[in-house]
């Protein structure tokens, strides 16, 4: 599978990164090279091999279902680019 400009634009959209036509063209070469490189894996026989998601052999711990954090609205909003009355402010979502 090789990468073309259309694929770059599609992936940029999935990634929510604005890319101009010219930038997409410039990205094709390097992205294609990386995908070509990782495709070596197709030669490895992985029949009957379980995918490994995490090397740590730990079962996720459970904790009591209690409130142990919170009451820190100021801290949560301290770095927000825009906030009002304790809420984040974003550009309009519904036209």
């Amino acid at each position: 599978m090789s990468i073309d400009k259309q694929t770059v634009l599609k992936v940029a959209n999935l990634s929510r990164i604005e890319v101009t036509d010219k930038e997409a063209e410039d990205m094709v070469g390097k992205l294609d090279k990386i995908i070509g490189f990782v495709e070596q894996l197709s030669e490895v026989d992985t029949d009957d091999i379980e995918p490994l998601a995490n090397v740590v052999d730990i079962d996720l711990r459970l904790r009591d279902d209690v409130v142990n954090d919170g009451n820190c609205q100021d801290k949560v909003l301290a770095n927000a680019p825009d906030s009002i009355e304790g809420f984040y402010v974003v550009p309009k979502v519904v036209e």
């Binding site: 990634s15 990164i17 604005e18 490189f37 992985t46 090397v55 770095n79 927000a80 979502v93």
Partner: protein, 495 residues
């Protein structure tokens, strides 16, 4: 420049204990060194006032008989660790001005033990790189110079950490390692650095790159200093679901200088075509030192080594694309709003906030996770990852540690390897397999090449056996007797 900045952490701790000097004096000396070495661009933020406050408090604690493991030692903190009230950026424009409202667990542990923070040191943007040429805050320069005097990279991604410790600005620094980001810069700067077993240090409060691979660890000038720092940094943390609930050993107690009874494995697949003679030579020298220290040498095989980098370059970008989706211009960091709708704001913010390498990796990640490709790339890579882990499990039936080179070259010039991403990725060819397997690995300074630049040797161990890794690192370090310091410091000393 003062002699206090040339002490190891172990020496400084004993000097403080003997009242030869105070933490305030030690910290002042390092603050001066930091200000004298601004040409290296190692620091994004300097925090001299915080450092002096901490040093005074440390001297008071010591006077009251209450000294911690790192009591009074000036350190640099990689700008990937959230530090309460001090800007934390991951070297990215998208986080410029971000002031964490909380402290990472690792830095909390170090401050509990008396560490003094000099400031926040730079890295490759979001820890993605091997050169420190992708930071929004500019290139970081290695204090070591080749004979031709050109500016060299400090390695990466923990390049600011390594540059600061090599330049005698900080006695030690925190690093993080996802595919070699502690070990390769340690090697490039003539330092020791250890990536512990995945799960040994809490990831809480560390800006995430690839969560199944990221591990924090120390960079310092000796294995002993790494052992002291790791003891402080490590430990169980309920706030990280992959943190291991295991006691932290007294790592310094394993440093006997002796390797009797230990079997050192030499993986034949690491003898790669095209590896420079000098790298092969230092490796063979390392094997001879290990023998000399009483170890038995055994040949082992890690058959899937050549697939480690391609596996890594699927898994790490996939996790990164997911982790970095949080930078959306809403909750923190940069927002670029040119009057469009919410989606436009996301796309413009991320286009302006991320650098080229970060964008590339997010997009590769989105690609390998997208419908139709998920099984062929992502699941396939997870399967090969298991084969790579199995290679290590099998090898450790025959040996206690593995000995390899850390990197395929010494530090290269700024701008080299930039044209071709694969060329840059190959820098991590010896370090990535252990990251995928989650096993501990360290780099120790072993010697200089013909250009006068440091070369490192890598020691890999069994899961949770950092003690043996450090023991072997320490023993080989004793044999190597590496005591060179960067030429730029000698020049300053003379001036």
């Amino acid at each position: 420049m003062s002699d206090l900045t040339h002490l190891t952490i172990a020496q400084a701790l004993s000097g403080l204990k003997n009242k030869d000097f105070t933490s305030v004096e030690l910290t002042e000396a390092h603050i001066n060194a930091m200000q004298d070495a601004r040409d290296l661009n190692a620091f994004i933020v300097e925090t001299p006032e915080k450092a002096m406050e901490q040093a005074k408090a440390s001297d008071a604690r010591r006077a009251s008989g209450d000294a911690g493991l790192l009591e009074g030692i000036p350190m640099a903190i990689k700008d990937l660790f959230c530090t309460e009230g001090v800007q934390t950026t991951a070297s990215s424009k998208i986080l410029e001005g971000f002031i964490p409202q909380y402290e990472s667990t690792v830095t909390t542990n170090m401050f509990r033990d008396g560490a003094v923070m000099l400031g926040k040191v730079g890295l490759d943007e979001f820890a993605m790189g091997s050169s420190n040429t992708t930071s929004y805050f500019g290139n970081i320069i290695n204090p070591w110079k080749a004979n031709d005097g050109k500016d060299l990279v400090p390695g990466g991604s923990s390049g600011g950490s390594a540059a600061a410790v090599a330049a005698r600005i900080a006695m030690g620094a925190t690093g993080t390692d996802t595919g070699g980001s502690i070990r390769q810069p340690a090697a490039f700067c003539g330092l020791a650095g250890i990536k512990p077993t995945y799960g040994r240090c809490s990831r809480w409060g560390i800006i995430a790159f690839a969560s199944s691979l990221d591990q924090a660890g120390p960079i310092a000038r000796t294995s002993e200093d790494c052992a002291i720092m790791l003891e402080s940094m490590a430990g169980f943390d309920a706030k990280d679901s992959t943190s291991a609930d295991k006691p932290v050993p007294k790592f310094t107690e394993s440093l006997t200088g002796d390797m009797k009874g230990l079997r050192v494995g030499i993986p034949k697949e690491y003898r790669m075509d095209g590896t420079p003679d000098e790298i092969v030579k230092i490796w063979d020298q390392g094997i001879a030192w290990a023998k000399d220290a009483g170890a038995e040498i055994v040949d082992v095989s890690l058959p899937h080594t050549k697939y480690a980098l391609p596996t890594y370059y699927i898994i790490a970008p996939a996790e990164a694309s997911s982790n970095l989706s949080r930078y959306d211009g809403v909750r923190y960091g940069l927002r670029v709003d040119e009057g469009g709708n919410l989606n436009d704001m996301y796309a413009k913010t991320r286009a302006e906030g991320f650098g080229d390498e970060v964008k590339r990796r997010i997009m590769i990640g989105a690609y390998v996770l997208s419908a139709g490709y998920y099984d062929a790339y992502y699941i396939k890579a997870q399967k090969v990852r298991r084969l790579i882990l199995n290679d290590f499990i099998k090898a450790y039936e025959q040996c206690d540690v593995l000995l390899t080179p850390t990197a395929p070259s010494s530090a290269f010039a700024i701008g080299e390897n930039e044209d071709d991403p694969i060329k840059m990725y190959l820098n991590d060819v010896f370090t990535v397999p252990a990251s995928l397997a989650g096993v501990p690995g360290m780099s120790i300074p072993a010697g200089l090449d013909a250009k006068g630049l440091p070369l490192g040797l890598q020691i890999l161990g069994r899961p949770w056996d950092e003690a043996t890794v450090l023991k072997v690192g320490h023993a080989i370090e004793q044999k190597a007797g590496f005591n060179a310091i960067p030429q730029s410091l000698l020049n300053k000393k003379a001036a």
